[in-house]
Amino acid sequence: MIVALASLAGVALFLWPYLGLGPFPAAPALAVAGGAVVLLAAIEAAARRLDTRLLALLAALAAVDAALRLVLVTGIGGFSPVFFLILCAGFVFGPTYGFLTGATALLVSALATGGVGPWLPYQMFGAGWVGMFAGLVGLRWRSLPALAVAGLLTGFAFGAVLDLWDWSYLRGSPGAGFTPGLSIGAVIAAFGRFYLLTSALYDAFRAFGNVLMLLLLGPPVLAAMHRLKARFTLVVE
């Protein structure tokens, strides 16, 4: 519920340039993303849904992701190992935790790799939504294939959503750019052309890389996370 409100801030950030409001300045954008994450974590902690143990796990996951990103700073095509843990954490611990894992993992790994830039707040929301989506999938389907499909879909979707950010710089390019005043259909068609031309192949590395990692490394990591979840759950009779 609260995660939906935090996401709303992200949606507004992404759509800002397309509402005729001009580019959103970089520093406030980072404040919006950071603020959404901190506020979400604070509310969850106050509601006792995020206790010290889950917070410690969140920090550990973000740190491991930072290390993974240091190993492979630029990635292979769009593939990056950071999404694997985000997907697993969301799948096991739910949408809100998935969102927090994604956003903090990107923030911490950007600090570790020197990847801080105007793109960071958008990446934080994008990766947060990856974890949130895995969490939503996990609420309904508990099997590894379902998570692998989520990894495939979010592999492309993460790229497409982030394209919304840099597409706003490409205003007016013939056929594949954004011009204010176009109809919704024409805007979507132009974005589709832009996405297929510039990103589809690049994102395919991420999508299939996610699937491969989930199928190869998913079972032991999910088992470990399920074991932790069992420990975090206390039933008083």
């Binding site: 143990r53 088992a223 074991r227 420990r231 975090f232 759950t233 008083v236």
Partner: protein, 432 residues
């Protein structure tokens, strides 16, 4: 007056059908309360209730309730309980966080924001109470297992807790270290101590309890008498040290000349920090000698380190044993060594969910499976009750009977008497 009380407390670890604690009613008063009982019988689970690790850290299912120092065990956060109850774990490695002893003992006080001057005095008093003032400036990494345990106790005492809980704290101390530790305990207002190795302890305790199958009862029964020894016939030379000097940082041992034979069981004894582990590691080839020669006849070397639970990384105990058997090309079924160490019922369990004693047996099974030519065991009876120690002794007997050369480092006099053909004392850089 009761310092801690449990009322109708039942507890199940996550995913376990059987309870670890079954309707425990218990009041703990002043003085030393000694808890004995078989490995996996619920001693550790009982102790973990007192500082809230059960149920707040382990999760699972709980029924009933209890209090410690006026704090409700189910509703008080563990950070509060930790001020009233000091805990020394089975494994001191799990509880030491600082690089230097003094900083380690001060760590808890720093977290409580105790003024610096008072901190200094309390650190000194705590180290003095366990007879470890000399270790004050030492680096924790250079301490032996027993010395670490003393530091762990000192860092708990510095917090001045109402109740001190110790889970087999002497399992790896030499006799002098154990005596110093126990002497320190008698000065404390209230202590709960779980132990396998009882020696003269029951006579000194104010209260004696036994935990078995999750239930607590008053009194401790005497351990079974040892079985008679089997004679052995040592064979060819299996290993040899010639003029060996060794140590992790500079020579701890020098001029060591030793020979061991196939089918012979050699026991290394001596004080903590004397070099027993260094000798085993050198013999295993894990630590290159600084001088001299180390020879081993062909065949697999089985090495059980002191923190043996750390070896276990497979999803089940059976998978651990199968891994060793696969690597050593042994044709024996995993059930042989699992049965020998009483692990058949636990074979499908995840190693880290076991009690420390069970984990120790699992690590031994994973190490000695597949007929090794040389078995080096560092403190193998750590965390073991009398029954498990007897099983270990049978396993060592079988290994020796198969022509395996066995070297074990231990403080456990019962084990030495039961299995050793030769006893060497490692002390002050020498082996005698």
């Amino acid at each position: 007056m009761a310092i801690a009380s449990l009322r109708g407390l039942s507890y199940w670890y996550p995913g376990q059908a059987g309870p670890a604690l079954a309707e425990v009613d218990l009041e703990v008063g002043e003085g030393l309360t000694l808890v004995a009982g078989p490995s996996g019988g619920g001693k550790s689970s009982l102790l973990r209730c007192f500082n809230g690790l059960v149920p707040h850290f382990y999760g699972g299912r709980i029924k009933g309730g209890g209090e410690v120092a006026g704090l409700d065990l189910l509703t008080t956060p563990t950070r509060r309980l930790a001020r009233a109850v000091g805990f020394v774990f089975q494994n001191p490695e799990a509880q030491l966080v600082s690089p230097v002893v003094e900083a380690e003992v001060a760590f808890g006080l720093e977290n409580l924001a105790v003024p610096r001057r008072e901190m200094r005095a309390r650190v000194e008093a705590a180290l003095a109470a366990v007879g470890a003032l000399a270790l004050r400036q030492r680096r924790v990494a250079t301490l032996s297992g027993g010395e670490r345990q003393l530091v762990a106790l000192a860092s708990v005492l510095a917090m001045e807790p109402r109740l001190v809980v110790l889970d087999e704290p002497t399992s790896q101390l030499d006799p002098e270290g154990s005596a110093a530790l126990l002497a320190a305990l008698f000065g404390l207002p209230a202590v709960v101590l779980a132990e396998h190795r009882l020696d003269g302890l029951p006579a000194l305790a104010a209260r004696r309890l036994t935990m078995a199958e999750g239930r607590v009862r008053e009194g401790i029964s005497a351990p079974p008498p040892p079985a008679p020894r089997r004679p052995r016939a040592p064979g060819h030379v299996a290993w040899r040290l010639e003029g060996v000097a060794a140590g992790p940082a500079g020579p701890l041992l020098a001029g060591v000349d030793l020979v061991g034979r196939a089918g012979e069981v050699v026991a290394l004894t001596g004080p903590n920090g004397g070099g027993k582990t260094t000798l085993l590691r050198t013999l295993a080839g894990l630590l290159p000698p600084l001088a001299g020669r180390v020879e081993r006849r062909g065949g697999r070397t089985a090495y059980l380190p002191q923190d043996a639970g750390a070896l276990l990384h497979r999803p089940t105990i059976r998978a651990e044993v199968e891994l060793t058997l696969g690597r050593s090309g042994g044709a024996e079924p995993p059930e042989l060594v699992l049965g020998e160490l009483g692990l058949l019922e636990l074979a499908g369990r995840y190693p880290r969910d076991l009690s420390a004693g069970e984990r120790q047996r699992a690590a031994i099974a994973a190490v000695i499976a597949g007929s090794p030519a040389l078995a080096l065991l560092d403190e193998p009876t750590r965390g073991m009750d009398a029954m498990a120690a007897r099983r270990l002794r049978d396993a060592v007997d079988r290994l020796a009977g198969q022509g395996c050369a066995v070297v074990l480092a231990t403080h456990d006099r019962d084990l030495v008497e039961a299995v050793a053909d030769r006893v060497l004392t490692v002390s002050g850089g020498e082996v005698r």
